[in-house]
């Protein structure tokens, strides 16, 4: 039809265009011939189309069922030859994750048929499972009722059991070597590495992030029944060889990682914290040397309760940083040359009222009351009031821009899954108090990695490096297919500003809130931070995030490390006495265990060592006795937590202090609820997380009965009631609503 129409038009159309150029008569004849040949061509093409369409109809409609049956038969005979997943190495070529080969057994029920009883019996003998278990597998049928051509009987059998089955040479049983992922150090770096499912597919962590590289490509072989009834690889089909996965090398230092994890775990126990995390970087390159969360997971045996712990909170969670954010405020001041570190501010004796629009007032408080102090002292002593005042001099635009330059509110681009960018409000979204509160780290959402990176920039003379954890990807033939080199993000601050900040942060450790971090012979710079947790729309008393971030050696920084503790409850919640000691322990072990660092005690430290006071051991003593002993040595004591017995002291016994220095005493926990006659007061649990509620109840030896999960919404008996020791407390929980935004 279409072609007919074309023909009619054809005889006229081209004539119009070409009439003037060519002899009209000859052209008319030529055009006629052209038209007929063109038509013939179209008819030819049309026939070709019809031929193809007809053939498609034949194959896809008329004979489809025949081909579908063939296809199905083929698939059922296809046995996957699994690719071996690539290994993961740390920076010193230690194998962190590899595979063990296990043998799995598949069967072709159709071939086995008469032998099913005997085979089921043999398997039952070896694997100690009921015979019926194997029989039912061997008798599985397709929906059409015909026996299946492929079933798994046992997957990843223990080698010694596998060998016994293999030795029996059972017909119709196909042994297939399958790799099982093996994490050589169990929970060390567990959360970071993540894990795989039974088919060796990456589920979380590095295993997920680099799955495409690690996975490789499975091959396959088509099994066929031979004359004797055994399953043999078919000769008619090609064997598609598996292509093994690539090996990945991380920037991680396994030695550092295990130190960090051990200390973090201790810290969580000491402080009765909900969780803790730490990240350690090389400030000059951005390489991640260690990254840990506690509690973590052991990827060798992951179970459902680990879901929460498998999140790498260093990049996936945001929190309000508190005082560690003061790095931004100080940078904005120094970078814009608004004032020098010795400018003096009135710290208002610990309390300052800020006027809000609409006549309201807001109070800003310092932990300790100071009057006139310099800006540097304000950093060392962590005064919020001075920061708020400084911020007014800096102004919204400059403060915002500085925060932005430090990378807050933007993803770091680290090669880990699930990174969030945090939240940094633009000045036009600020509330009446943002200018003041942002200066000491509230009304901003940051990830732990962003904080660590900001301090890394200070340590690296103001230049921020892009963080990364994968350094190399190599094929099994040792061909390098990916190599990451250090990448500069931007110059955040000038070297002069970086120098001033380093001085202030060194002061924090020497004289300020971070004194517990001090290590004789090693110059350390750092900052403490504590922030109230913003839960369900309000700041909660008694629920804190405490952090310490620092770097060393100050002369030539090799390591930046952030330690953060979620909700420490044992004693004080301040970063200086919770995360600080963990940082101290990590730093000390790293410095002592590797040859990379040399300690050079300063004159003051030598003096302290020679003439100082050795800290006595007052642990397990009553408060009044402990204080007396310390007084007798010329030391002061400061108490943290409730109770009457010292369980922990900072610094630890044997350290050297000067006369008049403070020893922090952590007491034996929350005040005892036991009343005189042995009855116990039931604590208030409402609003607590399930885990926290259970911890709280265990302290007083209650039995716990739980319904639901998430946050405690009600309890029985009610808070304040007196019950016998060891009584059962029932708590009812509901899932926490999606965590409310920070603001």
């Amino acid at each position: 039809m279409l072609f007919k129409k074309n023909k009619q038009e054809n005889s006229k159309a081209p004539q119009k265009g070409n009439a003037s150029q060519v002899d009209a008569k000859a052209e008319a004849g030529g055009e006629k011939q052209f038209a007929s040949r063109f038509l013939a061509l179209k008819v030819g093409f049309a026939l070709f189309f019809v031929l193809i369409a007809g053939r498609l109809a034949q194959i896809q409609i008329m004979e489809a069922s025949k081909y579908q049956a063939t296809a199905k038969k083929q698939y059922e005979q296809a046995v996957v030859l699994p690719a071996v997943r690539g290994n993961i190495y740390d920076r010193n070529s230690n194998v962190v994750a590899s595979n063990t080969m296990n043998v799995s057994f598949a069967a072709d029920p159709k071939i086995i048929d008469k032998d099913a009883e005997r085979i089921a019996e043999k398997f039952s003998e070896v694997f100690n499972k009921p015979k019926s278990y194997y029989l039912s597998k061997l008798r599985t049928t397709n929906s059409s009722g015909t026996p299946k051509r492929f079933v798994w009987l046992e997957r990843r059998a223990k080698p010694e059991l596998g060998k016994r089955i293999e030795a029996m040479r059972l017909e119709g049983i196909v042994p297939i070597n399958e790799a099982k992922r093996l994490y050589h150090y169990d929970e060390v770096a567990g959360t970071l590495l993540g894990f795989t499912d039974i088919d060796s597919k990456g589920i979380s962590g590095i295993e997920l992030q680099l799955d495409e590289y690690l996975r490789g490509k499975n091959g396959s072989v088509i099994m066929q029944r031979d004359g004797l009834g055994g399953a043999r690889p078919s000769v008619d089909y090609p064997r598609i060889e598996p292509f093994d996965g690539n090996d990945v090398t991380l920037t991680l230092d396994l030695a550092y990682q295990s130190i960090v994890e051990e200390e973090l775990k201790k810290g969580v126990e000491h402080n009765k914290a909900d969780a803790a995390l730490a990240v350690m970087l090389n400030p000059k390159t951005g390489e991640i040397l260690a990254l840990a969360t506690s509690p973590g997971i052991n990827p060798n045996g992951v179970n459902a309760s680990d879901i929460n712990a498998s999140r790498n909170r260093v990049v996936t969670d945001m929190f309000e940083p508190g005082s560690v954010f003061k790095v931004v405020t100080a940078s904005a001041a120094y970078e814009n040359k608004l004032f020098t570190p010795d400018k003096r501010f009135n710290a208002e004796h610990g309390v300052m009222n800020v006027a809000l629009p609409r006549g309201k007032m807001r109070q800003i408080k310092d932990t300790h009351a100071y009057d006139w102090i310099s800006f540097q002292e304000a950093i060392e002593l962590s005064s919020n009031i001075v920061m708020a005042k400084a911020s007014e001099l800096i102004g919204a635009e400059r403060l915002y821009r500085e925060a932005r330059d430090f990378g807050f509110g933007v993803m770091t681009g680290v090669d880990l899954p699930g990174e969030v960018k945090g939240r940094l409000k633009k000045p036009n979204e600020w509330s009446g108090t943002t200018l003041q509160t942002l200066a000491y780290g509230y009304e901003v959402g940051v990830t732990p990695l962003q904080i660590a990176l900001a301090y890394a920039a200070v340590a690296n003379k103001g230049v921020m490096m892009k963080p990364y954890i994968v350094s190399k990807v190599r094929t099994k033939d040792d061909e390098e297919i990916l190599a990451q080199k250090p990448q500069t993000v931007r110059k955040v601050i000038s070297p002069e500003t970086a120098n001033l900040l380093t001085q202030a942060f060194e002061g924090v450790v020497e004289r300020g809130t971070g004194k517990d971090v001090r290590i004789a012979g090693m110059r350390i710079a750092g900052k403490t931070g504590t922030s109230k947790k913003y839960v369900d729309g309000k700041y909660t008393e008694g629920s804190y995030t405490a952090s310490f971030v620092g770097f060393f050696p100050v002369e030539d920084p090799q390591v930046v490390c952030l330690v953060m503790m979620d909700n420490p409850r044992a004693a004080g919640y301040y970063g200086g006495i919770t995360s600080g000691p963990v940082f101290h322990a990590i730093a000390e072990r790293i410095i002592n265990s590797t040859g990379r660092f040399t300690k050079t005690p300063t004159a003051k430290e030598k003096e302290r060592n020679n003439n100082g006071i050795t800290v006595p051991d007052v642990r397990t003593l009553q408060i009044n006795i402990a204080s007396k002993i310390l007084e007798g040595q010329g030391l002061k004591s400061e108490l943290f937590g409730k109770g009457d017995v010292v369980v922990r002291q900072i610094p630890e016994p044997g350290k050297r202090l000067e006369k008049g220095d403070v020893v922090k005493l952590v007491l034996n926990g929350e005040e005892t609820n036991t009343t005189a006659n042995g009855a116990v007061v039931v604590p208030e649990l409402k609003g607590m997380s399930l885990r926290r509620a259970i911890n709280r109840l265990v302290v007083d030896d209650f039995d716990v009965k739980v319904r639901g999960s998430g946050v405690v919404v009600s309890q029985y008996p009610a808070a304040g009631q007196k019950v016998n020791a060891g009584a059962t407390v029932q708590i009812i929980c509901e899932p926490r609503a999606v965590t409310a935004a920070l603001y």
Partner: protein
């Protein structure tokens, strides 16, 4: 950090080629097609030179020297030669007019060009592209009103050449053999073809669904090449393959319509030639995957994984669009919306008014 895996690498590489193809399409669309007339002869000479150089220096892939490498790029000169020859034939036919009927003046010179290009491609050996070049040349000669006796004579003459090449290249004979044996016998000689047909059949009317092809995973390695149509058939079924065919039918109809309304003889021939190349490649590729033609290594235009073919085909389609832009089909704004000529049916009405 992005994930770089094997499949993504192929995808990225292909995306790059598609981008280059779009550039080529745009270039073809922008240059006035009448310009080519002056350059077709040097182009075809260059193509012959390339073919000769490839024959001497080219990289060997699966027993055939077909690629010429420039730094990191590798090109198939036969793809270039195919279009260079086609363009030159259009130049020759449109300038010689009725002299085409004269054997010595018109027909013989053309046969020399066709013979040199097709001969060199066949010698690579690239039997399939060589045959396609001959087939398309025959189409051009046929449409140019060459005498039937000449055409038949040439056809008869080319048979011995093809036979000689076929006999000296074992893989060609093997393929023809397996075709004659009965390609759907389930034998092992023509494994890929048989697996391709199973793919079509397994798709049935509606297909197994996007990405669900098992043939691709287990039985049709490298299916992104010449057997991609079979995967389309498996995943999208008869509905999908019909849609696919309809797209090429549409390209053909629009192409011939452009030819019909082209301003001059050169444009008309060029339009017919380009349309024929695209359509014939699609049909032959489909025919091969369906077992109605002997197995050859011809790509499905625009779909198969292959840079040279995509690049030159895109350029040719660009030229087609340029011809379209200059026809009476778009009298008011000839160069503004040339792309629309491929998509809009409704314009047929306006054509009649003018």
């Amino acid at each position: 950090m992005q994930k770089w895996g094997e499949s993504n690498r192929l995808l990225n590489l292909h995306a790059l080629k598609v981008l280059l193809g779009l550039v080529a399409l745009f270039v073809g669309m922008t240059i006035d097609y009448k310009m080519y007339k002056k350059f077709t002869k040097p182009a075809v000479i260059l193509a012959i030179a390339f073919l000769a150089v490839t024959f001497v220096l080219g990289g060997e892939v699966k027993g055939a020297t077909r690629w010429l490498r420039f730094g990191g790029l590798s090109l198939q000169p036969s793809e270039f030669a195919k279009f260079a020859l086609l363009f030159h034939l259009c130049t020759l036919i449109s300038t010689k007019g009725d002299a085409i009927k004269d054997f010595k003046k018109g027909f013989l010179p053309m046969m020399i060009w066709i013979g040199s290009v097709a001969g060199l491609v066949l010698l690579q050996p690239n039997f399939s592209t060589g045959s396609m070049i001959i087939l398309i040349s025959l189409v051009m000669l046929f449409i140019s009103r060459a005498r039937f006796t000449h055409l038949l004579g040439t056809f008869a003459a080319s048979i011995p050449l093809l036979v000689v090449v076929a006999l000296t290249r074992p893989h060609v004979m093997q393929r023809i053999h397996s075709f004659i044996d009965g390609s759907s016998s389930g034998g092992t000689k023509n494994y890929q073809l048989w697996q391709g047909i199973i793919g079509f059949g397994n798709g049935g009317l509606f297909g197994v669904g996007p990405g669900a092809s098992k043939q691709r995973d287990f039985f049709l390695p490298e299916s992104y090449g010449d057997f991609v149509f079979s995967i389309v058939g498996e995943e999208y079924g008869f509905i999908g393959t019909m849609f696919f065919l309809a797209l090429f039918l549409l390209i053909m109809l629009r192409g011939f319509k452009i030819a019909k309304s082209a301003r001059d003889e050169f444009g008309r021939l060029l339009a017919i030639g380009i349309t024929s190349v695209v359509t014939l490649y699609a049909l032959v590729n489909a025919g091969v995957t369906l077992g109605v033609l002997p197995t050859t290594g011809l790509p499905m235009p625009f779909v198969s994984y292959g840079g040279s073919s995509l690049l030159f085909t895109s350029f040719a389609v660009g030229v087609l669009l340029n011809i379209s832009a200059q026809t009476d089909m778009h009298p008011r704004a000839p160069k503004v919306e040339p792309v629309s000529s491929l998509s809009a049916f409704t314009e047929d009405k306006t054509v009649k008014v003018y």
